[in-house]
């Protein structure tokens, strides 16, 4: 008898709770509890952690700022699904699938390698993605993957143009040697050189490759030295770039020749690893401002990095800036999509929402100013690079000092070259 009463009481309570749920949810604000979900994956552990960790910090700190201080996007909080991919291709494939499963509206990666490993899964599903660092293969031909910043080929083109206009004083064609990481980071620069070096009036005399784990490049640099180049261009990550610069210094090549670096390797980590005296005078291109520059977004970003990741600030890590900017762009995309398509079109987080976000969010970006952190962000039909500008920097007294204002990198339709991807 008692049991029967207890069961009836429990059923009544459950029925009341179920009936009250709509009223309870109605008690909140109109947009309270309604979120916009995004997937973020960074190689915070693994062999690219030196870049991935601060990039992840930049992403997450910026979303914390947007949600806490700006009230989210148009009143909707951004729900971040963040995963460490460990620079593991198999893992990032399942991570991107999980983003799609969890109803994320778009996803971002920091490295081109991780985007390469997962992009076809996203392209097949029409799930939009954005890579902070990218190579042409990611969006040539353009599909659903976008590049936050110019790619490694653009780096080469801007540096080569700057070199010809400002550094090269000799007669005839300068001789350039390339030292490239054996992945898409190096391949991007190689393809740009193959496409445009001759047009720029540069003779490529050597193309050497190195691994991300290299500890000595004396042999390859000895071969390069024998060819007597005027300039050495490196497209790699900081640790291998430091090895190449150190070895060039030890072989007596540098100072003497000009050394330029693409943006994947040109950060404070390069100066830390190789040493300020050895890297003195090395040129590099980078698509963001540096710490301490007088731009609108600097104060808030500095406040957050000092509060949450002082170690990144002490190292003056520029990768943090890149991903802080990436999060701002994601917020702007969401804002455009909410305004143009409405929250309800995005709420499901399914294929229709992805299409709406891409067409009404990403493709509506027009001259968005990322607080001055990097060049303006616009979508141009047929060109999935969102920002197209880089600046040329130089290491001076251990600091990375800007030499130029923003320089736009041209659109290169690599797919029109017979050799591209073959």
């Amino acid at each position: 008898m008692n049991n029967k009463r207890l069961i009836i009481a429990v059923i009544i309570c459950l029925a009341l709770i179920v009936a009250a749920l709509p009223f309870l949810s109605a008690c909140g604000g109109d947009k309270e509890g309604r979120t916009l979900k995004v997937g973020i994956t960074t190689p915070t552990t693994g062999k690219a952690a030196e870049k991935g960790a601060p990039m992840g910090h930049g992403n997450l700190d910026c979303f914390e700022y947007i949600n806490n201080e700006l009230g989210g996007v148009e009143g909707y909080q951004i729900e971040v699904v963040w995963r460490d991919n460990g620079y593991d291709a198999a893992k990032v494939a399942t991570i991107v699938k999980s983003f799609m499963d969890e109803g994320c509206l778009l996803f971002t990666t920091s490295s081109s390698a991780m985007m390469t490993a997962s992009m076809e899964i996203a392209n097949r599903a029409g799930f939009p993605g954005m890579a902070a660092f990218s190579s042409p293969i990611i969006y040539r031909p353009p599909q659903h993957i976008y590049g936050q910043m110019p790619d490694y080929g653009d780096d080469f083109l801007v540096f080569a143009k700057y070199y010809m206009d400002n550094i090269w004083k000799g007669s005839g064609k300068p001789k350039m040697a390339l030292h490239l990481l054996n992945n898409s980071t190096g391949a991007g620069a190689r393809d740009a050189a193959r496409a445009y070096a001759a047009d720029l009036g540069i003779e490529i005399v050597a193309t050497e490759e190195h691994a991300s784990t290299t500890t000595s490049e004396m042999e390859s640099l000895t071969r390069i030295k024998a060819l007597n180049p005027d300039v050495l261009y490196i497209s790699s990550t900081p640790a291998p770039t430091a090895v190449v610069v150190k070895n060039a210094y030890e072989l007596g090549m540098f100072p003497g020749i000009t050394i330029g670096s693409g943006h994947a390797g040109f950060t404070s980590a390069l100066v830390d690893i190789a040493g300020a005296d050895i890297t003195e005078g090395v040129y590099g291109v980078f698509p963001t401002v540096n710490w301490g520059d007088d731009v609108p977004a600097m104060a808030k970003m500095t406040e957050y990095i000092k509060k949450n990741h002082a170690e990144d600030y002490e190292k003056k890590n520029m990768d943090y800036i890149t991903c802080w900017a990436q999060s701002l762009i994601v917020a702007e995309i969401l804002k455009e999509a909410v305004n143009n398509a409405g929250y309800d079109a995005l709420a499901a987080g399914d294929a229709n929402s992805w299409k709406a976000l891409e067409e009404q969010g990403i493709q509506k970006l027009k001259d968005y100013d990322v607080g001055g952190l990097h060049g303006p962000v616009s979508y141009t039909a047929g060109d999935n690079r969102l920002s197209k500008s880089v600046r040329v920097f130089q290491v001076q007294n251990g600091e990375i000092v800007p030499l130029t204002d923003w320089i736009d990198a041209p659109v290169v339709k690599y797919e029109e070259f017979d050799w591209f991807g073959k």
Binding site: T45, G56, I137, D191, K422
Partner: protein
């Protein structure tokens, strides 16, 4: 309640059967029903994880035949998987051949490349052979990166798998394709161990000199082990290529090769169920740490800076494997064998 007091075989067919009792049949059918109805109750993410497990399992079975049964240590398995993946990509993308041609071609080419790198096994063994297989890994990856036909550093696209008019677009359809091939591979490997070839492999593993004295042709059987092991790797590579849709040599790292050796050791070398246990253990552990533990720690300890929990993943991953090897060095298959013995003898375990 009637309890079995032993399984008696009345003819050779019963003695040779893999599935010997009604209980075996019931459990096997139940397992297959659970596996093949998985798309009904799992989302795309977990189906993706299961697809990855299935692909990894096929490759691990091949490595287990080579290392576990035949005793030929290979630390370049990811390289052979890469050969299969790129062969399938070239055949189906560049030459526009059907998926099945690409699949079989991947296995055959990978197997033949395996024979080439297996040739030193006639002269060297143990650590020395391991070094030659490491060389295979690096040579294969170098060729992939520098041969234009593979797309080089930029990589190569791979179309969806398709048979006739059936295109395997969805995660669940890919799951069925991968699972069926994985089940066939498990069945093949289980049977191989019981054949003349399997016994020759085991003889070579246990004492190659004694095996040769008994009339086992070392050159033939060692190279056959390399062919079969790498054939499986090639099949796994082809499935991986069609599943991911884009190949880049970075997906086949040396670390991945070592992980494969770790999987078959944790599962139990030279057993048919070892690779299954090892692969499931490692892949699920990876996913749980990445997808569950780290986000849980990040959301629970909000006073810590964002990203603080990432170091936990590699530390715990390493710790679990070390503890596992200390506490159960004979692998999960041994634990499974103990469980089965206890079940059979219950309630008289001793």
């Amino acid at each position: 309640m009637s309890l079995p007091c032993g399984t008696r075989n009345y003819n050779y067919a019963e003695d040779m059967a893999i599935v010997r009792t009604k209980t075996h049949w019931v459990l096997l059918i139940a397992l297959l029903v659970i596996i093949f109805t998985a798309p009904l109750y799992f989302g795309n993410y977990w189906l993706g994880v299961m697809n990855l497990i299935g692909i990894t399992l096929i490759a691990a079975i091949g490595l287990n035949i080579l290392v576990g049964y035949c005793g030929q240590l290979s630390i370049g398995h990811a390289g052979f998987i890469a050969v299969g993946a790129y062969t399938a990509a070239i055949l189906t993308n560049r030459l526009e051949m059907p998926f099945l041609v690409g699949l079989i071609g991947a296995g055959v080419v990978s197997g033949l490349i395996g024979i080439v790198f297996g040739l030193p096994s006639v002269r060297v063994k143990g650590f020395y052979l391991a070094i030659t297989t490491i060389a295979a890994q690096f040579i294969i990856i170098w060729v992939i990166n520098h041969w234009g036909y593979t797309g080089g550093f930029l990589g190569i696209k791979v179309p969806y798998a398709s048979i006739g008019g059936l295109v395997f677009r969805s995660e669940s359809s890919q799951f069925y394709l991968i699972t069926i091939i994985a089940v066939l591979c498990v069945f093949f490997a289980k049977n191989l161990a019981r054949t003349k070839v399997g016994r020759a492999f085991i003889a070579i593993r246990d004492n190659d000199l004694a095996a040769e004295v008994m009339g086992v042709n070392l050159l033939y059987y060692k190279l056959l082990a390399f062919f079969i092991g790498c054939f499986f790797a090639g099949i796994a590579g082809a499935l991986l290529a069609h599943w991911i849709g884009f190949l880049n040599a970075e997906q086949f790292s040396f670390t991945e090769s070592i992980l494969y050796v770790g999987m078959i050791i944790i599962g139990g070398l030279g057993t048919s169920v070892g690779p299954i246990f090892g692969v499931i253990f490692i892949r699920i552990l990876q996913q749980l740490l990445t997808m569950e533990l780290v986000p849980f720690l990040e959301s629970t300890f909000t006073n810590f800076p964002s990203g603080f929990a990432t170091g936990v993943t590699p530390m715990l991953f390493g710790l679990v494997i070390v503890l596992f090897l200390i506490l159960e060095p004979r692998g999960l298959a041994h634990r499974w064998a103990l469980f089965k013995s206890a079940y059979r003898l219950w309630p008289f375990s001793y």
